[in-house]
């Protein structure tokens, strides 16, 4: 219902057509502040009723046009969603012509991360806090904001040699990003992570969680239609939290046996791995988005936990 600005601008959605299950969309004003990146990232937006409200520069139509992204309204979205649920995520085209190409590329085969990452190195903070090497794969702005409250950040694009900055960091953070974690374009990053695991705290979110898991010996798989939305409950077996999800891939729970990681939280309904840990190796990663945006703040304590892991590690050195 809420959060259409965040969703449309989330780099993790790169290469995807977004079908909104909430029928009324863009009921409140688009907000630059709520954007999760500099532009709309989805390839297209499909809505049931976004046409009849908020005219005059604020309609979804106008926003999509501004960023040159196609949208289609008045669609029977529930029927489309039921189709996706039954058949799984599928390739799609939005076109104003009946001549749709029979074959077109699956965007998941593309190097999506490269499309969303800036090639600049950025630093935040004043040196008063531990230093985090954030290897960027398409981090949401709100995740970067939350992390910058924990540590001073050195944000380095995934395809630039991170080793150069590794020495001055107290820990490494891998954020969210689009596409398949096992994609060829990320092989260098996976290899690098496997070499540094255990040396310093290694924290991940979403794609970062999957890359850390792959680097630790796990396997990942493509889900039928993934977890999307801000209403998923995760549990540690005792308590439950409502969390914000956006992942089409997941870490295989079976493969955890072959890895150095163990499952700390899982989705209450389908058992999907939602948090992995290795306390000795100072590894912590979540599949969900502890920063919400959009969605619940119930797992903000993840960042407190990160702070503690990093402080303990700094203190023990």
């Amino acid at each position: 219902m809420t959060g259409y600005t965040e969703i449309l601008t989330d780099p993790s959605y790169r290469g995807e057509i977004m079908v909104f299950s909430s029928p009324t969309i863009a009921n409140y004003r688009w907000s630059e502040e709520a954007m999760e990146s500099g532009s709309i990232q989805v390839s297209g937006a499909v809505t049931r009723d976004s046409h009849s409200v908020l005219r005059g520069g604020y309609s979804l139509d106008e926003i999509l046009k501004k960023y040159d992204v196609p949208g289609i309204d008045l669609v029977d979205t529930r029927t489309l969603i039921l189709k996706i649920r039954e058949s799984g995520v599928m390739r799609g085209v939005i076109s104003d012509s009946p001549d749709v190409p029979d074959a077109f590329m699956d965007t998941m085969e593309k190097s999506l991360v490269s499309e969303v990452v800036s090639q600049e190195v950025t630093r935040t903070g004043d040196g008063s806090r531990p230093t985090c090497l954030l290897i960027d794969t398409g981090a949401k702005r709100s995740l970067v904001r939350k992390m910058s409250q924990v540590a001073d950040l050195i944000i380095v694009p995934y395809n630039m040699d991170p080793a150069k900055y590794y020495g001055e960091s107290d820990f490494v953070f891998l954020p969210n990003g689009p596409g398949d974690p096992a994609h060829e374009s990320l092989s260098g990053l996976r290899r690098y992570i496997s070499t540094i695991a255990g040396e310093k705290p290694l924290i991940g979110v979403c794609l970062g969680h999957q890359i850390i898991s792959l680097a630790s010996g796990c396997r990942t798989y493509k889900m039928k239609y993934g977890h999307r939305g801000s209403n998923h409950a995760v549990t540690d077996g005792r308590r439950t939290w409502i969390s914000s999800h956006n992942h089409g891939y997941a870490v295989s729970a079976d493969s955890l046996h072959d890895s150095t990681l163990s499952m700390a939280q899982w989705d209450i309904n389908d058992g999907t791995v939602e948090m992995v840990r290795n306390e000795d190796q100072m590894i912590l990663a979540t599949q969900y988005h502890p920063e919400g945006a959009p969605g619940s703040h119930d797992l903000y304590w993840f960042f407190d936990l990160v702070r503690k892991i990093v402080e303990d590690s700094v203190a023990s050195r």
Partner: protein, 1057 residues
């Protein structure tokens, strides 16, 4: 944590009679909770003196006490039933208040019982405004600031206050009687100086006014492991200043951004955790969009009207889940009963929009129609659609009143401005009207406080409706339907018959498809058959059924004269059908009720109960038949038109043509005359001249009625010709083409309600209830006793008449006959070809499921058994409860219009015990009377004499107004004089009532002179003093209360045959 095995026997406290602010939602949540506990093998002991509820049915609870919710009663039940735990979170404020009282009295402690769910300390924290505000201050949650002023400090402090505007309330103002708003210190000082000059020792409470801010609500569930979910949020279309029960409410919130939503959600979880809620609660916020800040308004630490709405809107059964949590489970252990494959720990996602609109009693009560901080509505409807427009218009269609058919308001521009700026039941329609008149959105938004978003949506509807032309089917019909515009509205504009529009539309194939409410917006497969209609989509698959399908019409919104008793009847019909192997399909629009629980029927269509929407379901489902006799007048009204579209055979049970014969009063009287039934003398009139000419032959007093039931308006006893003509004029203005009937009023007759079942040939009487008041009090407002105390001869005559009438009208199923008895003569007054409001109480008193019986006869799965009416082993006294405390301008005297919102029952082994128990439900303070005020009209003074001398002989002090005093003195009864309010002499009635000297007022106005004594009755009511305005009732009451010393609670079976 799994089920707590030490919980074995749970006392569930129900909410009692339906009153404004506490209605069917607690029958729903209470029933759900009982069933949830029973599933766990826990014995449920239910205490609820509401005989109309489903909750008090044997199918819901193990042990049922229809007894008053009083501390000593509860203690006795605790001991008798070896209760180990109490569930008080599903019985509204009544149940919460009683556990707080039980603890105060030490009853909880000395009996070693525990309170399940939210602890009593938390309840008290949430309920006590002061404690709650202190707690919020401590955890840094913003609340409206407040300050107390007294006569000494107010001038100084008025200047220091920095949170204007403020609401000012005097410390003794009567519950919710509003308060003044001061915009600055000058206004505050002006109000205060006026007040303190007359009340120097009182204080004034000031609170920051939040009026005009956006109002949002969150439904939160917390378990004992501190896990929390918010089931959904709700956005009030009416801004702060209008009670949420009076507001139009949209779910999910439509105009919140993600940041606003999560700011409020975070706050909700902090507050709920701090309070220590275990189970469900509701939290309200005021959001100040001018600066992005918010205020916590209040927390309801229990299931509520909002939680019922949230359950129906989201599909998430809050009461059920919260009962499971009370029994020990955590959210992660409870299955989501909608998907069955997923768990209750999640937050529902909605791929549709719902709109709730309150239903006010202003069609019955001619009172101030403005709405505000106090509740006046008695029911509500919910519309569901894929778009907000569709949901809005389906809610409007569900109202089942004039507003649901007429979208235009014929008012002047000046009146329109007034309606826009002062909240009332007409405001939504005023907005429509203003949009028709092309007022601009921004101006409307600032006048009404509605968000622009809502106004834009409403204008989308208006822009389409204004294309409709008189006299022809609209060319934009598809667009109109997708915006939810009803056939009834199209009919009112085109002036085509609604039934013709519906038929043409269906024949043209313009039928909606149906979508499932699945709690997850399609993410998981859901088998739950909970549907709503929408236009222009593919729709979800409705599974074919290999059994015969029967559609049961629900009763629509709660309103005066149509309350939860009809929900009882329709739910029982559904259960009976399912038991006999039919597929039972329910259609209803009332989010409060049990009937709209998706678990109750095989299929639930949450739709307006109108010809149009019922026809849509019939067109799609093609049921074997439709049952219209269990939903009050709603079903009766649409039976004819449904038969017109789908054929007479589609209606099961008594046929539409027979319904019509019985409902048309002229026809009915004619048939009675032809078939030789005794009825009061009558004449049909066609115009005013007729009335003038024919009335003398009937004589006065008389009763005038239109030939068709108009909004349930009942008989008015008329004593003079002027009044009669006025009434006749009124009737002809409402229905000019139909004749009216003038009939002789039978003075001093006893009215009898007979419920019976029949297969068209043979008939069994379910029960015969006798009214205490003489014929003339609306049967919904009368106090009635079962069994009746009639002579065997009269009983035989009543039975004979019932059997003959059942045959004459080919009654199949259940029906109700109203009879008047005078001396040894029996007169037929009215035949209702449907279940009446006395069916639930009669079913419970006789221990017989009469609805199931009737369904068996209709479906021919059952047969008429032995012709014997079961007689209960005790007395059941049904008492009405009235909303007089909510309407300062409403007289408590009973008149032609039904006034009661609900009913309670007193049950006893003697009539006296039953009557006293019944009166505990209607009077706030009930004790043996010590001093009674008599004020009796001249014509009834003689009749009142036996009562006065009885009281005098019992040692009761008698006060009387001067005339009554003189009369009593002349008849040798001592009394003290009290003067009427306008008198210059003292002592005054008002002083004696306020000082608490008088325990009961007997105010008997003369026939026709109903305006006399209004002030006395209002003052008595305000002072919490029992007022009796009927001599028969007063006599029954005093004779009972003077002789009864102890009230004993008994399980219902002890009273059954």
């Amino acid at each position: 944590m799994p089920l707590d095995k030490s919980i074995r026997r749970v006392l569930v406290i129900g909410s009692g009679p339906v009153v404004i602010g506490q209605a069917a939602e607690f029958d729903y949540s209470g029933s759900q909770a009982c069933l949830a506990l029973r599933e766990e093998g826990i014995t449920t002991i239910l205490l609820n003196p509401n005989p109309a509820s489903i909750q008090t049915d044997r199918e819901i609870a193990d042990r049922i006490y229809l007894e008053p919710v009083l501390p000593d009663m509860i203690e006795e039940i605790i001991r008798k039933e070896k209760v180990d735990s109490i569930l008080a979170s599903v019985g509204g404020q009544t149940a919460l208040n009683s556990v707080i009282m039980l603890r105060k009295l030490g009853i909880i402690q000395r009996n070693g019982v525990r309170i399940l769910g939210t602890p009593v300390d938390s309840i008290e924290l949430a309920e006590d405004r002061r404690l709650f505000h202190d707690l919020m201050d401590r955890i840094g949650e913003p609340v409206a600031r407040s300050v107390t002023l007294d006569a000494k400090n107010y001038r100084k402090r008025a200047g220091e206050i920095d949170f204007y505007p403020v609401i000012i309330r005097s410390s003794f103002s009567l519950g919710g009687s509003g308060g003044n708003i001061a915009k600055d210190s000058a206004e505050l000082i002006a109000t205060c100086s006026g007040f303190f000059s007359s009340h120097p020792s009182e204080t004034m409470e000031l609170e920051k006014s939040l009026a005009g801010m956006n109002e949002l609500e969150y439904e939160v569930i917390r378990d004992s492991m501190d896990s929390c979910i918010t089931v959904c949020n709700m956005e009030n279309v009416d801004p702060m200043g209008v009670h949420t029960g009076e507001s139009i409410v949209v779910t999910p919130a439509q105009t919140l951004s993600d940041r606003e939503h999560n700011m409020l959600r975070d706050s909700a979880l902090r507050v709920v955790r701090k309070l220590g809620i275990v189970g469900a609660c509701n939290i309200q916020f005021a959001l100040d969009r001018t600066n992005g800040s918010y205020y916590v308004v209040e927390v309801n630490p229990r299931t509520s009207r909002s939680s019922a709405l949230a359950s129906k809107a989201s599909g998430f059964p809050i009461a059920r889940i919260s009962a499971k949590i009370a029994a020990g489970y955590t959210l992660a252990e409870i299955r989501n009963p909608v998907t069955k494959d997923t768990y209750a720990a999640f937050e529902p996602a909605m791929d549709y929009v719902t709109v709730k609109i309150p239903r006010w009693p202003f069609d019955k009560f001619h009172v101030d129609r403005t709405i505000g901080v106090q509740m006046k509505s008695i029911g509500e409807v919910m519309g569901i659609g894929r778009t907000l427009e569709e949901a809005f218009m389906k809610a409007v269609a569900s109202l089942e009143n004039d507003l649901s058919r007429n979208i235009r308001l014929g008012v002047t521009d000046a009146r329109l401005m007034e309606l826009l700026s002062r909240p009332s039941d007409l405001r939504l329609h005023a907005v429509f009207e203003a949009l028709f008149r092309n007022h601009d959105i921004d101006t409307l938004s600032s006048l009404t406080g509605y968000e622009r978003y809502f106004l834009i949506k409403l204008s989308n509807i208006v822009r389409e409706v204004e294309k409709i032309e008189i006299g022809r089917m609209p060319s934009n019909l598809a667009e109109l339907k997708s915006l939810g515009v009803s056939d009834a509205i199209i009919s009112s504009i085109t002036r085509l018959r609604e039934v013709d529009i519906t038929r043409a539309r269906i024949e043209a194939g313009l039928i909606p498809s149906f979508r499932i409410i699945d709690t997850c917006a399609g993410e998981f497969r859901s088998e739950t058959p909970y549907f709503y209609s929408t236009y222009g989509e593919t729709g979800d698959m409705i599974r074919e059924s290999d059994r015969k399908k029967v559609l049961i019409i629900g009763a629509g919104p709660n309103r005066i004269a149509q309350g939860i008793e009809f929900d009882y009847c329709s739910v029982k019909a559904v259960r009976a059908l399912r038991k006999s192997g039919f597929t039972a399909i329910m259609i209803n629009s009332n989010p409060e009720t049990v009937s709209t629980d998706f678990d109750v029927s095989d299929r639930l269509f949450f739709e307006p109960v109108t010809l149009e929407h019922v026809s849509n379901v019939v067109a799609i489902e093609k049921p074997y038949g439709v049952m219209v006799q269990f939903s009050g007048q709603t079903g009766q009204n649409i039976a004819g038109p449904i038969a017109e579209i789908f054929g007479e055979n589609i209606i099961l049970g008594t046929s539409p043509s027979q319904i019509d014969r019985a409902e048309n009063r002229t026809e009915f009287s004619r048939i009675l005359g032809e078939t030789g039934f005794r009825q009061p003398e009558y004449t049909s009139i066609y115009n005013l001249e007729d009335a003038l000419g024919k009335t003398p032959s009937i004589g006065l007093p008389a009763i005038v009625r239109s030939s068709f039931v108009i909004g349930g308006r009942s008989m008015e006893i008329i004593y003079d010709m002027d009044e009669l003509l006025e009434r006749v004029r009124e009737i002809f203005s409402l229905s000019p083409s139909n004749p009216a009937i003038i009939s002789r009023y039978l003075e001093d007759a006893t009215e009898i309600d007979v419920d019976f079942v029949s297969d068209g040939k043979e008939t069994v009487i379910c029960g015969i209830m006798e009214h205490i008041e003489e014929a003339g009090t609306h049967s919904g407002d009368a106090t009635m006793i079962l069994p009746a105390s009639l002579s065997p001869e009269i009983m035989t005559e009543i039975k004979r008449m019932t059997v003959l009438l059942a045959k004459e009208f080919h009654i199949v199923g259940i029906a109700n006959l109203q009879i008047a008895v005078r001396n040894s003569e029996v007169f037929v007054i009215e035949l209702n070809t449907r279940a009446s409001r006395t069916v639930p109480i009669i079913s419970k008193a006789t221990g017989t499921d009469w609805i199931e019986y009737a369904v068996g006869l209709i479906m021919k799965t059952g047969k008429i058994g032995a012709d014997s009416t079961p007689i209960p082993d005790g007395y059941f006294v049904k008492v009405p409860v009235f909303p007089f405390d909510r309407f300062a301008d409403l007289d408590i005297l009973l008149g032609p219009e039904m006034r009661s919102t609900g009913e309670g029952v007193g049950v006893g082994k003697t009539v006296e015990e039953a009557i006293v128990k019944a009166f505990t439900l209607t009077s706030r303070k009930l004790s043996v009377p010590t001093a009674v005020l008599f004020t009796v009209d001249d014509r009834l003074k003689n009749a009142a004499l036996p009562l006065a001398s009885f009281l005098a002989s019992e040692g009761v002090k008698i006060y009387a107004t001067p005339g009554t005093h003189a009369f009593l003195r002349d008849n040798g009864i001592d009394s003290s004089i009290l003067y009427k309010l306008e008198d210059v002499r003292k002592p005054l009635i008002s002083d004696a009532i306020r000082s608490g000297e008088i325990s009961t007022v007997v105010n008997i106005p003369g026939p026709g002179a109903i305006r006399e004594g209004f002030e006395i009755r209002r003052i008595a009511l305000a002072g919490g003093v029992l007022v009796l305005t009927n001599l028969r009732l007063a006599t029954a009451y005093f004779r009972s209360v003077m002789g009864t010393t102890r009230l004993v609670p008994r399980e219902i079976q002890e009273y059954q045959p």
